[in-house]
Symmetry: C2
Subunit: 617 residues, 2 copies
């Protein structure tokens, strides 16, 4: 059994300075127990290359597996002593004081089976023939990789991962871990991924494959040496892939129509984007293996956990029991946000713990590899919350996080007083709502801010459920606070939630800011048995008085000017009564507050804030 | 000189039944005057293949040139008698009674130089060598094509096109005609095009070229026979291109993850999208020429009229004098709407006549070839307006347009009473506004509906300018009415317009429906010297009375309920006075109307509709 706690160079002062894990050493574990594969074949012997960073604690409760995407490897962080420029592919994410903090967590990076960086794959020698596997190497699936990762976990003595984490194809592995090894994973971080490939995704993969398969040097995968490989096909394949990793905007900003020199009316490179892509293609053709590339694109195509449950993704994820963090990026057109939302919807349907961040980033799919402030802050907050869950993590004390300009860290944002809307709710408001929520209720809080109300209901009524929030800071704060939060625009409706999924749906001080009031109320009573709505009462005497004087009202409860108010659909208590009556909704409770106290006499005239609890007849 | 008025079979009753131009005959025109090319070389002799449909009138004023995109040809409409399934590529657009009506217009389709369907190109014999041109054929540009088209126009005796029209690369040719041959074109229809390729566009072209160039059968373009061509490269190139023609949504709807049979854990096609793409690639490799493909992608890459004017597109289009119709499609990600908007912005900057339709269509770039109701209705309305402009078109009477279910034709929509907002403006409103607009003023009308107000100002004050409208029906009606209309969402602001571009900017009955009131008013006074704003007065006594009684007001001027009103930022006359005063805007005129008549006494109490004219100090 190899040593696996001493590969980091955390003690090296220079490495500490830039918060790298320092020089690392790749290791190889050999397995002689046959591994059954999805295709029906079996790998009798195989090796897995891996690296580890940080220290496994005595309870073995702080281990995190980082899964790689298409062309990456086990070299996640740090560098090699003899090749210091070869920095791990996720070095900005993993290291001392970084979002995945190696001062607290023991991190494992592993090269997937069938890849070409040290684990068994098409370029390794098949012991039975004495030649490279080549085209004889089986087509593997994400599930096969995860099964192999589980073997390595056993070897390392890790019964349960604190987290499995990955972006893109790596996120699919994290999802598969959650589904098929629910007892062995406490948290899944599924980043820039999808529950399966779309037709367009498959189409791009297929074109890339065709480029390789039709290269005469491919020889049906049995090219004689790594050097005699089908470079032309690999080059074209990589160029295609590379386009899909970048956003249109980013490519435009970086290259636009810039020329290298001038037009030459030939097919030599003229535009900078052409030479860039050719360079990327060349580089890839140099280091990557064609058979591995073909197979990894197939693993992507095949991944579709819902096929095991008749196409029902929710049923597929029902076996999972870990907490999920799902992250997508706004300009990712390879795996757009809508695909991550499918995963979230399935997890919500089966009442899993899930938070979802839709991060604004210009970099397209590549954003998952980059140092985006909100993205890293959310991941950092997630691991910080995990640290709290794990309790005494049993490794050395953590150095304070230096504040970095231009980056909103959890220090800057998570603890900022935020979500004035929710925080400003009067205690009487809280008390009224808590009084109406049944013990152990399932609650959906629309516009949850930092999650204060949900936590309050959790404590008071043992309620569980989700918050929905559009604001980055609210999402980050909710994650930091351990609230299950889903980043979403309420104007898109509640399509992510099933009929009758909740006991109560709460819309606090937000109704008047919605464009489609009728729709959101109808949606609340579709997904919830009961609705609780609070809004400022336009009928308050101070508003009536100002209008009688010929001006639009401005007050403590309506603090904006007519032209910049977010409150675009205001109403009075009498209006809302009529609105509910016209729809035959039944009012179960109604409290109208002024100065934080209930108003009994003439509430439409004296009340500032109205709180309704209602349901369908 | 070939006969060019008798190629259509319009008299054939069966062809009339499906409104085809019927059987057509391709013709070839030979030119022996040297054609100088952008690359510096010269074509001494060349042939152009073309087809014509309809009849050229005596004044030769009804000729329309249809330009083709990447892989199409001169075969635009109809079919060949000996090959009836070979229907023209734009047969749904061109024919008797179709949007481009061959009962009224004489339509010319031409195969571009360098293509491979009859015009001189790499596969034709170079007279000087007696062998196919192959790699020796020059790399042509859009400008070279247009110059050759002008030669054909001369040959056909067409001094001035009624219109030049094209989609994608064809739209670029229409744009080039407008810029470089301004005296020879009355209308340009620039559809699903761009003012140049983006970095991503070039990237896709470059990958396609690399696939061909790296095919060992390419032999530097000198493959010995058409049949010995680099099929593998062509196949991959076409597959890449094909992905970019379709929208993600459409591909998902059509193919999704549907399998042909089952998974086979090999590289034979498994998903339907794979076999579809392979089929498209095979078909293309069968009929298309590799050298032609390489060159046509280069013509796309090179197209950039702004390079002739130091990167300033507006300066580049300043030479144009024709009317422009620019059309884009919402799901086109090859040439997204934003690229068409760049063309529109340049044309507006130089005060050209331009209308712009942003058509909602799910089909991606391919939408320009399909029969979308709004798209075809706008083009139909455009040509109908042209017919009126041309006057007696001198060809036979036009058969009535049969109404087709599910398709909004110009009959259905253009003449529908619409834009209640503008049409409902009281005459007093019109009169007040017209009284404030200087003779010959440049006017921008935000939310122009069917263009009634602009036409009124045109008649009363000889005003010119543009309308902005978001609604499909309004855009169509404006086009039908000959108003220059630009389809746009005012919430995006007026980024398409320069500072001080207009004398007056009008916002009629729309302020209260805007999300960002301050922004739009600031934008109005940025692009215009003066602003005219009309809005319903919330201070009207009937509103005050209803609120005093504890309900949100509903009235003739505010006919909606609080929860469904589009009026989200209401104000009183006193509020608007204060709003303008706080910003130091100078009120030049103010009229408050009730029952269509000006109110002098207590306008904030008695007025229903307020009309302001104001400017910066």
């Amino acid at each position: 059994m190899p040593s696996f706690s001493a590969t980091t160079g955390g003690a090296d002062p220079e490495a500490r300075a830039d918060r790298s894990v320092g020089p690392v050493v790749a290791q190889v574990a050999r397995f002689d127990t046959p591994l059954p594969l999805a295709c029906g074949r079996t790998l009798d012997h195989y090796e897995l290359a891996y690296e580890t960073y940080g220290t496994l604690n005595a309870e073995r409760s702080n281990a995190v597996l980082v899964c790689h995407a298409l062309n990456a490897s086990h070299h996640v962080a740090g560098f090699y002593a003899d090749d210091p420029d070869n920095v791990g592919w996720w070095d900005n994410m993993v290291g001392p004081g970084k979002p995945l903090d190696t001062d607290r967590f023991f991190v494992v990076g592993m090269n997937n089976l069938g890849s070409c960086f040290g684990s068994t794959g098409p370029i390794t020698i098949n012991a039975e023939t004495g030649k490279p596997w080549g085209s004889a190497f089986p087509v593997l699936t994400v599930e096969d990789w995860v099964d192999a990762q589980a073997q390595l976990a056993d070897r390392l003595g890790i019964a349960r991962w604190a987290a499995v984490m990955g972006g893109s194809l790596g996120g699919m592995q994290a999802l598969d871990w959650a589904i098929r090894y629910p007892q062995r994973i406490a948290n899944a971080l599924v980043i820039a991924a999808a529950p399966n490939l779309s037709a367009e995704n498959i189409a791009f993969n297929e074109v890339a494959r065709q480029a390789i398969l039709s290269d005469p040097d491919f020889h049906d995968g049995n090219f004689q040496a790594f050097d005699a490989k089908p470079r032309r096909g690999l080059r074209v394949a990589r160029m295609i892939g590379h386009i899909t990793y970048l956003s249109d905007e980013q490519m435009e900003a970086k290259f636009g129509r810039k020329l290298r020199e001038g037009l030459n009316f030939s097919f030599a490179p003229e535009f900078q984007i052409e030479s860039y892509l050719r360079y990327q293609g060349e580089k890839f053709a140099e280091y990557y293996d064609a058979n591995a590339y073909l197979r990894i694109t197939k693993a992507l195509d095949y991944f579709d956990p819902a096929t095991r449950t008749g196409g029902d993704l929710a049923q597929a994820v029902a076996s999972a029991s870990c907490r999920f963090l799902v992250v997508s990026f706004t300009t990712d057109w390879r795996f757009p946000a809508s695909r991550s939302r499918e995963i979230v919807k399935a997890l919500v349907r089966t009442r899993r713990h899930v938070s979802y961040a839709e991060v604004a980033a210009p970099h397209g799919h590549d954003a998952f590899l980059l140092d985006n402030a909100q993205y890293h802050a959310v991941v950092r907050a997630w691991f910080a919350r995990m640290t709290a869950d794990i309790g005494d993590i049993g490794v050395r004390a953590v150095s304070p996080e230096p504040s970095r300009s231009g980056m909103r860290t959890s220090r800057d944002t998570a603890l900022t007083p935020m979500s004035a809307r929710v925080s400003a709710i009067d205690r009487a408001d809280y008390a009224a709502i808590a009084g109406w929520v049944e013990p152990n209720a399932r609650v959906l809080d629309l516009g949850c801010g930092d999650g204060t109300l949900l936590r309050f209901l959790g404590k008071q009524r043992n309620a569980t459920g989700y918050g929905i929030e559009i604001d980055d800071a609210g999402v980050l704060a909710s994650v930091a606070n351990g609230t299950d939060v889903i980043q979403s625009d309420l104007e898109r409706g509640l399509a992510g939630f099933d009929d009758g999924a909740f006991d109560v749906v709460i819309l606090s001080q937000t109704l008047q800011a919605m464009r489609r009031v009728e729709d959101i109320v109808a949606e609340m009573l579709r997904v919830g048995r009961e609705a609780i709505v609070t809004f400022p009462n336009f009928g308050h005497w101070s508003h009536r008085l100002q209008i009688a004087r010929g001006r639009m009202p401005v007050s403590k409860s309506l603090p904006y000017q007519w032209y910049d108010t977010p409150n675009i659909h205001l109403c009075t208590v009498a209006d809302f009564d009529a609105f509910l009556a016209a729809r035959h909704y039944r009012v179960l409770d109604r409290v109208v507050l002024a100065g934080g106290r209930p108003v009994a006499f003439m509430p439409n005239l004296a009340g500032e804030l109205a709180i309704y609890r209602f349901r369908k007849q």
